[in-house]
């Protein structure tokens, strides 16, 4: 902090002084002030601060030799809070990690993101990406986002335990409830779910039940504020959620999503609806026993949609070197870079490029690719399809619902009121 005052005062003068946010800004913007000397250097601002993904991205960036590229890694909380400041500063990072969804669109509508439409046509790096991904990356008819990997959600279970309990993978809601009953009768908790310090996990079931009952279009519209949370459609969702409550391990209310993996791994719980990132949280000897199934179909007339949270990059509209930024994006989106990143990060993420050879990926990942490929529609996750602020209203409503399912009507009314406040502002 000793060297901070100079750059800090410059920073404050630059954007007119922003008080509280500025306090953190000094530290973060201080780090990229080095790139101001030469616009020939590109800056990649990354929020991937976990060891494996960070090492993977470092390796990938080292492989880019055309322009000298500086990688700044910043913890996600700070990154998220500082993102507007990064994009709005006179000398922004050229390329930033982020995810597709409403937040990116919001920034695009304010003109902060570089138009990368040309990367999506002709010989562009994203030209072979699926139309669903293109739609996710589009704002106001222009592409502003470069997706490089995504993952799937599913109901994860241990193959050996399903065998031991004598249950089959369910495909319909009734079969699913029967499986829950059987597992419960064997003395295990049918469903584990860590909603303690990671309350957002409770939105997994909400999203999926809504997708299965009301469909993807309704779900998106609901999160955009076009339908009320206390309407009959959401009540139907909560009726189904209520059927699950007796099967959900009550201890999960104290757990984080990682903690809640332990009962599954140690055979005390049967199933876990969670993202593919679960593979990083189970012990190595359990990974091979881990399998997943698609969330059972409730209404066969509703087109099947799946959650596919998509990660990638966007570039700042104020980049000093837009051509260089696009070139870096093209490199990051290229098949070899995607493959290298996914393998080094030890993630179960799927590549967005169709040219990546996925035959070496694990059977679990192959299955994930197949499921998403067959889906009629893709959504991301509650917070990505709406905003982190709306996510908090969901966290409040759903964790309260887990505690007091009898109050469901009051909870939904309250949810609608707080959602209206968020969406109205």
């Amino acid at each position: 902090m000793i060297s901070a005052p100079l750059s800090r005062r410059g920073f404050l003068a630059g954007i007119g002084g922003i008080g509280a946010a500025g306090l953190l800004g000094a530290c973060a913007t201080g780090s990229d002030s080095g790139s101001s000397a030469a616009s020939s250097t590109l800056t990649l601002q990354s929020s991937l601060s976990d060891p494996d993904p960070k090492a993977a991205l470092t390796k990938v960036v080292e492989g880019y030799t055309k322009t000298k590229t500086t990688l700044n890694t910043i913890a996600i909380e700070t990154f998220r809070a500082q993102l507007p400041t990064y994009l709005n500063s006179g000398n922004p990072p050229d390329v930033l990690t982020w995810y597709a969804g409403s937040v990116a669109r919001d920034y695009a509508s304010k003109g902060f993101l570089l138009d990368v439409s040309d990367m999506w046509t002709g010989n562009g790096a994203c030209a072979n990406f699926s139309p669903a991904l293109k739609e996710l990356s589009t704002a106001n008819g222009k592409q502003i986002f470069v997706p490089t990997n995504y993952y799937w959600w599913g109901v994860f279970y241990r193959k050996s335990m399903f065998q031991q309990w004598g249950v089959q993978v369910p495909t319909t809601w009734d079969e699913f409830i029967t499986v829950c009953k059987t597992i419960k009768s064997k003395g295990a908790a049918p469903i584990t779910m860590g909603t303690g310090s990671t309350a957002w996990v409770a939105s997994g079931w909400f999203d999926y039940l809504n997708l299965r009952i009301n469909g993807a279009e309704f779900h998106r519209d609901l999160l955009a504020g076009k339908h009320p949370f206390d309407g009959p459609e959401v009540k139907a969702v909560m009726d189904h959620y209520k059927q699950l409550l007796e099967f959900i391990d009550p201890k999960g209310r104290s757990y984080s999503w990682q903690d809640a993996v332990t009962p599954l791994a140690s055979k005390k719980a049967g199933m876990y609806l969670i993202g593919a990132f679960i593979t990083s949280a189970v012990p190595a000897d359990v990974v091979d026993d881990l399998d997943f199934f698609q969330v059972p179909i409730i209404d066969p007339s509703v087109p099947v949609a799946e959650e596919a949270p998509t990660d990638g990059y966007f570039a700042s509209a104020k980049s000093k070197n837009p051509a260089g930024a696009k070139d870096l994006l093209s490199y990051l989106a290229s098949a070899p870079a995607q493959q290298q990143f996914i393998q080094l990060a030890k993630s179960s993420n799927l590549p967005t490029s169709t040219q990546v050879d996925t035959s070496t990926f694990s059977p679990l990942v192959q299955k994930g690719i197949k499921m998403l490929g067959e889906a009629k529609g893709l959504t991301q996750f509650f917070n990505r399809d709406s905003s982190d602020e709306l996510q908090t209203t969901a966290d409040t409503a759903l964790t309260k619902f887990l505690d007091k399912p009898g109050d469901v009507n009051a909870i939904l009314t309250e949810w609608q009121a707080s959602a209206k406040k968020v969406l109205g502002s």
């Binding site: 922003i18 008080g19 953190l24 809070a81 994009l87 104290s254 309260k400 505690d403």
Partner: protein, 301 residues
């Protein structure tokens, strides 16, 4: 204070200060103004605006403050802060004082006890929070102990239960603070005059009377320090709550500071968050002014 006679003498002394010293004073003063006062003033301005960090802030007058007082989460947080200030302040002062009195007399192993009680202070609040979170787990130490002594009925999901979450965090915070307060009081007790205690004992005063009427009045100076430290610590509490519950379940352990953080740095409602910050500042100011008035009065008396 001999302010009346001072001016003439002081001016000559001012001139005697070398210029380079002024320079050395000026630099920290500028840093202080630039890094503390200027952002603070800005947050007052921001509290009157609506701003998400992009573009220009939109002035909205007092709307943020009006919204605050119709915001159930804010009102809940305000109430929790009152509970917190009383619980945290009361328990850590009572506990710290009791421990200091008990461990004041030199006897074998007393140093070991003192260090053991002060030890939690070495951990950061975030680490304390993580440590206690493990104890509060459904199968954690606390529930296991309760079960072992036959109090199964008392077993709870301490941090996941809206009725207990705030108090569970409070216990963890007091556990850490109590050693600090104890050390302050131990220092205070060392400064008391032992002959007074002996004399009153000779006069037949009971242990309680000796403490209440002989020792306690001599601790006045320490008390004001402890009061200030405790009030400020309780108003700025953030990390331990964030590490243990993040204000949940459903805002039941929300404090003003955690709500401000969430509004400001998660949702980027910087205007609204600044309004909360202003409220925290006003509350702190009330306490600090009362404290200063009391302190100066005592000094004058």
């Amino acid at each position: 204070m001999t302010a009346v006679a001072a001016p003439a003498r002081r001016r000559s002394r001012l001139r005697a200060v070398p210029k380079v010293v002024w320079l050395f004073l000026l630099v920290p003063a500028l840093v202080e103004v630039g890094m503390v006062f200027w952002p603070a003033v800005n947050s007052f301005y921001l509290s009157l605006t609506e701003w998400n960090g992009l573009g220009a802030a939109k002035p909205v007058g007092l709307a943020n403050f009006r919204n605050l007082f119709s915001d159930d989460v804010f009102l809940g947080a305000l109430k929790n802060n009152v509970v917190w200030a009383i619980g945290f302040g009361g328990l850590s002062v009572l506990g710290g004082l009791a421990l200091a009195v008990a461990l004041n007399r030199p006897r074998r192993g007393v140093g070991l006890y003192r260090s053991a009680i002060y030890l939690p202070m070495v951990f950061s609040l975030a680490v304390t929070g993580l440590f206690w979170r493990v104890q509060y787990q459904p199968d954690g130490t606390i529930n296991t102990l309760l079960g072992a002594v036959g109090l199964d009925g008392w077993e709870k999901q301490w941090l996941a239960n809206p009725d207990t979450a705030l108090y569970a965090v409070l216990v963890a915070a007091v556990w850490r603070q109590v050693g600090y307060v104890m050390v302050l009081y131990l220092a205070g007790l060392k400064g008391t005059d032992p002959t007074l205690d002996d004399a009153s004992a000779m006069d037949g005063a009971s242990a309680w009377q000796r403490f209440r009427f002989v020792t306690w009045p001599q601790l006045r100076g320490v008390n004001t320090v402890v009061f200030a430290v405790t009030v400020i610590d309780s108003l700025r509490t953030f990390d331990i709550v964030w590490a243990m519950t993040q204000g949940g379940p459903y805002h039941s352990s929300e404090l003003l500071s955690t709500y401000m953080f969430q509004q400001g740095f998660t949702f980027l409602n910087l205007g609204y968050a600044s309004a909360i910050a202003v409220v925290i500042f006003a509350l702190a100011l009330v306490f600090i002014i009362t404290y200063l008035i009391r302190a100066t009065k005592e000094e004058a008396g």
